[in-house]
Every structure is written in structure tokens, then in C-alpha cells.
Symmetry: C2
Subunit: 118 residues, 2 copies
Amino acid sequence: MKHKKIDQVPTGDQMLKMLEALANPHRMRIIASLTHERSYVSELARMLQMSRPLLYMHLQRLESAGLITSSLELSSDGKAMKYVEVSPFFLQLSPELITEAVETLTTKAPNNSGKKRK
Amino acid sequence: MKHKKIDQVPTGDQMLKMLEALANPHRMRIIASLTHERSYVSELARMLQMSRPLLYMHLQRLESAGLITSSLELSSDGKAMKYVEVSPFFLQLSPELITEAVETLTTKAPNNSGKKRK
DNA sequence: TTCATATGACATATATTTATTACATATGAA
DNA sequence: TTCATATGTAATAAATATATGTCATATGAA
């Protein structure tokens, strides 16, 4: 077996989490900024002109959705730097793909999403 | 000119609005349900087991994002029915596509998302 | 008239998300 | 030691989103 399937169709929960993570202007800008080049928290905060605590919160949402990864590294002058970089992701959204994802959605509400007689 | 471009790459604002609209389990289920077949508000509320006022709120979000359309029709027995159906949409998300969209994002925050020297 | 079915809207809770302020720790350089 | 740079977190405020309950109107059928 030579090839591996990478990031197959996401489950409903995964899709929802990605959508929740991306549905925010700050977080879209964070992704955009990191797509150019990886960065560390303080620098990123300056670039995006937002407070560090706020950026932290947004980064956590992105990371828990699997859209970015982070690693603590030591700079040459001995300072701890938390580097952040985007994960390569690809998500497609259409009525059909959402329908498919909904079948594995565990979040809230029972499963009466299907059809039903009048 | 024979062909028309349909729903070209969305602007940043459009993408954000679509993401915000889709990032909710109820609304994903609404889309899924309507993908099977169009429905009217009261019936949809029964199928999805949610109150009509709540469903209304969710439908408005979906409609203002352009993901569904609705029309008031008279049933054969004279009752007003608000029919709802999904619009055909297709949205792709990747770091690059988000980066592109961010360039036309007008929502909040200045434009320092780009690179900057250390 | 009364009942069951619709639509539509308002007021109000409740919950979650977003944002700010403040504080603590650690490093190298001046 | 003091300054500037990092990371990390706790507490709290403010803004939105989500959800419920209630009321009003209109229709056809019983």
C-alpha cells in the first residue's frame, strides 16, 4: 500500500468544530497570517493588533479544531517562544456534504432530521 | 455568451456569513432535512423537534446567508404555508482560500494581517 | 362557535462567546 | 537591579447567540 488517505470526509462533529472555529473574522485573519508564514504568539498579537490573552483564546479554538498546531521552542537568546503554524486542511461544504455529515452528528437534539409522514 | 459564472469565489464577508450560518448543529440539521425535500415551517419544526420561534430564528440566519430561500404559498385548503428550500451552494475551505477571502474582509480590525518585519 | 392548523412577532431568560485587565514567572541585556 | 521580551492564567465585563413562553391573526372543518 503506497498511498494513504489523508483527512477523509470529516464526521459531523469534526465538521461542526471546524466551522465553529472558522466562523470568526479574527480567526480567519489568524489563518491567513499563518498561511504566509508561521509565527509565535507575541509577534502574531502585534501583527493582528490584538491582546495576547484574546489571541490565546482564538488560538485555542483553532488548535482544538485541528486547524493549527503549536510548539514551544527556545530562541537562540534563550527565550521561550510558542510557535504556531497552520495545518493543511481542506473542507468542502454543500447541501449534500452537510447532509452526509449530519448523520454522524452527535451534538444535541435527537435524530429526527430525516423525513417523516404528514 | 452562453455560460454564466455561478457563485464564483465568495468575498470574505460572504464566506464569513456562510460559516456563521453553518456553524450550528440545528442549522446543519435544517440544511440536511431540506436537502431531502423542501418543507414548510410548522412541519419542519415538528420534524426537527424544535419550537417554531426557535426554528424561525435559525431559518433567518440561513436565509440571510443565502443558503435557503422561502416563499409564502396557499395550500389547497386555503392555509398560508411558508415553504423553505435549500439553495444550491458550494463552499471550499483551505488555508489558501481563506487567505484570499480575508483580503476582502471588511469586518472589524484593520488590515495588518499580512507579513511584517521583525 | 370551537378546534386544529397555519404564520408572525415580542419579551425575556439563559448560555456562550468575545474581550479586557491584572498578575505571575522567566530570560538576556543594559 | 531594572528594562524589554517572552509565556501563561485568572477574574471579570460586555456583547451575542440561543432558547422559551406568550400573544395575535387567519383559515377550514366539525
